[in-house]
């Protein structure tokens, strides 16, 4: 069985995580679509910390003798998934960033050549 103190500390930590996530979404520093995985992480850890029987059963199922280790393994797993998810998000962002820079450079060039054209047109009409 999980020591009671471990359960209490883990539950409080998970709750704190959930509160922080909520506040980040509320103040618009975190978009809902990037918050879902974090919320899931917080919820799973909270449920397993509070429901000691379930954690014990789960640890037993995968052959972990000390239930708090199972909690630790699961938390690490979720963090890994979140990290991987962010890697894909960063990849997409950097690709879009490249496209934006390319389009901007082409747009600036088009604008400059248009201005040059107008200028030379104007000076020709003056002379």
């Amino acid at each position: 069985m999980t020591p009671l103190r471990v359960s209490i500390v883990a539950a409080i930590a998970a709750l704190a995580l959930l509160v922080v996530i909520f506040e980040l979404i509320r103040s618009r520093r975190l978009q809902e679509r990037y918050a879902l995985l974090w919320l899931l992480t917080g919820l799973v850890i909270f449920v397993l910390a509070a429901w000691r029987g379930l954690l014990g059963w789960l640890a037993d199922l995968v052959g972990i003798a000390y239930p708090p280790s199972a909690l630790f393994v699961l938390a690490s797993f979720f963090v890994l998934v979140v990290l991987l998810h962010y890697s894909t998000v960063i990849s997409k962002l950097s690709e879009q960033n490249t496209i934006l820079a390319q389009r901007l450079a082409i747009l600036e060039h088009a604008l400059r050549s248009k201005e040059d054209e107008e200028e030379s047109g104007a000076s020709r009409s003056r002379s």
Partner: protein, 255 residues
């Protein structure tokens, strides 16, 4: 005496002619339908400036729209629907439009029904008018997950805005200048219509629904679509919940 009480009711068309008006048409790979949508809007009222916001299409949507004489904003990559629509509202705001109608580029909305949408805006009863499929006179069939989602959101949003809302996911809507300014400054991301309705009410603007008939769109009914619907549902529920605790900056009081 009786003949003195005669009220002059101008037809929608002649009242409409007094406003600078724009049709915002978000489109993603709609080369087959976009031309017809543009033609139908123009046939209803040639005074509408038609703005197609091409949300990163890989087909000829932008080319077809340009060939029909529409203004086209081609986004360099897919911003998902909310970002595309907001681009349209920003264009409308920056160019001084007084009335904007949002019509999907996939042809599911009937442009002649714009007449119903703009009515409550023209007589000052609403800042936003939404075409609904569910009040009397409308008709809708769709996949089960979508229907469940639509009714769930209708119940929730009705509670939040203290007004009966039947169709929160309809993208067939019209807004006045206040609505344009609000949505240009703040518009939700994916599945934006639900949140936009609540946002509007939070800023003290008025919304009314009018019945419309939508053409049934061919929809994939694969498990991927179902999974995605569930994901969106959870996401929007989260956004609505957190939104309850949010204080909104007063966007509309400047100026």
């Amino acid at each position: 005496m009786a003949e003195l009480v005669q009220t002059v009711v101008e037809p929608v068309e002649s009242q409409l002619a007094l406003r600078r008006r724009i049709a915002i048409v978000p489109a993603l790979n709609e080369q087959e339908t976009i031309g017809r949508v543009i033609d139908e809007i123009r046939a209803f009222d040639p005074g509408f400036e038609i703005l197609v916001v091409d949300d990163g299409s890989t087909d000829r949507t932008a080319a077809v729209a340009e060939a029909r004489g529409a203004h086209v904003l081609a986004l360099p990559f897919n911003l998902v629907i909310g970002g595309a629509v907001q681009t349209g509202y920003q264009y409308a705001r920056d160019n001084g439009f007084e009335l904007a109608v949002q019509i999907d580029g996939d042809g599911q909305h009937n442009p002649p029904e714009v007449a119903r949408l703009v009515g409550p805006i023209l007589d000052g009863r609403a800042d936003m008018v939404v075409g609904t499929r569910f009040v009397e006179g409308g008709g809708y069939r769709g996949t089960r997950v979508r229907r469940v989602g639509i009714h769930l959101f209708a119940a929730l949003v009705s509670l939040m805005v203290r007004q009966r809302v039947t169709d929160t996911t309809s993208g067939f809507r019209a807004v006045n200048r206040l609505g344009i300014r609000l949505f240009a400054a703040d518009y939700p991301h994916d599945y934006p219509e639900v949140e936009a309705t609540v946002l509007l009410s939070r800023h003290g603007l008025k919304m009314v629904e009018v019945p419309v008939v939508m053409r049934i769109r061919e929809e994939g009914n694969s498990s991927i679509t179902t999974l995605r619907s569930v994901y969106y549902m959870v996401k929007v529920l989260l956004a609505l919940f957190v939104g309850l605790f949010r204080r909104y900056p007063k966007i509309l009081e400047e100026e």
